[in-house]
Amino acid sequence: MDKKKKKKLFHWGRILVQIVMFLSAPSLFAQAFAAVKETAGTLGKGGVLTVSGFVIRLFILCIITFFFGRIFCGWLCAFGAVNDWIYQLSSFLQKKTGKKLPRIPEKWIPGLQKIKYFILLFILVCCFFDRSGWITKNSPWTVFSLLTARNLKLAEYMTALLFCLLFVIGMIFHERFFCQFFCPMGAIFSLLPELPLTSLKRQEKDCIKGCSACQKNCPVHIKLGGNNLQSGECIRCGRCLTICPKGNISAGFHKSRL
């Protein structure tokens, strides 16, 4: 199979997995995060921690992330998939019409990616002081969960709806807009240690001079082999593998090149 075909197969394979996951487990990420909120709330009240179904889900996702990196984010999360689809549609339209939307400057991105840690902290503090109802009322995830449950009674969640719309607009302009800048669940994942079983490596010395195709095409703008702190952002989408013209990027310990 030639490289182009492989690339196509990879691209559509991922979309297929995302569609299947979207249909079968559309609120997995929110349920896993509910475990975090629940735990913070219990701590705040001084209650006894319980292992609910949510905690088990969170635990499984964290274990997966520990071993294989954020493949959940790249392949399995329904909300991440929505991020991808909206941007794919938008870039498709941009190509068709020949009009280009303004982009977020590259040098702002690492800074913007830190916002999610503050959001996580904010939510934890709110839950600790028993204000989790307030979070639910204003969270765009609530709107998303209600919609996926085909519940259209959104009148009470106007601010949440507004946030949701803002994020959708962001997703039109920037790939993985919500995921890399705002997602508190993503913040937890990127703070987790990850075994290098699936991590991406680049043979920088073999690179084409002046080339930065992998970084430019990476949804979360990682400069591979550079700043290690940012490596928690990688969602294991595998695109850098398929994009490098020289096949300079490998996954895991082996040189499993595509």
């Binding site: 475990a35 909120k37 006894v48 921690l49 989790s132 009322k137 703070l191 987790l192 240690p193």
Partner: protein, 140 residues
């Protein structure tokens, strides 16, 4: 690699803190439970004395996460004796299971003014709405 171990250390620390907390919380729980039981008995006696609720069973419904939630309240001796879930077909079982704690909370507090269960807010709101409606019907 250094970052991997730093992150690992953080996770271990968090786990350790939660573990220590848990053993403390468990020892506290017994006292809290005993206290709450007393409060609940007191509240029940109080509403029996006040006699503002008529005996009987009443139903009410509210909007939960996926659809309507219907509950039944039993008033005996002018106080709330039991709150039962009649139907909640469209709630996600996991959330509903958590929110069901409210049924007992309402009996304990002798009113529907109780806190929602965090992590199951939407189902909670449905149950509380339903309880309020039912309790309203019971008012003399």
């Amino acid at each position: 690699m250094k970052i991997f171990f730093l992150k690992l250390l953080n996770v271990v620390l968090i786990a350790a803190v939660l573990f220590i907390y848990q053993s403390y919380a468990l020892s506290r729980k017994e006292k809290v439970d005993a206290y709450e039981k007393k409060v609940s008995e007191y509240k029940r006696a109080k509403s029996a004395l006040e006699g503002t609720r008529a005996d009987g069973t009443y139903t009410g419904s509210g909007d939960g996460y996926g659809g309507r939630v219907t509950i039944q309240v039993t008033i005996e001796n002018h106080s709330i004796k039991e709150v039962k879930l009649l139907s909640a077909d469209k709630e996600t079982p996991e959330y509903l299971k958590k929110a069901k704690r409210l049924l007992q909370d309402i009996v304990n507090a002798q009113s529907a003014n109780v806190d929602v269960v965090s992590g199951a807010t939407l189902s909670s709101v449905g149950i509380l709405q339903a309880a309020r409606e039912a309790l309203k019907k019971s008012g003399l």
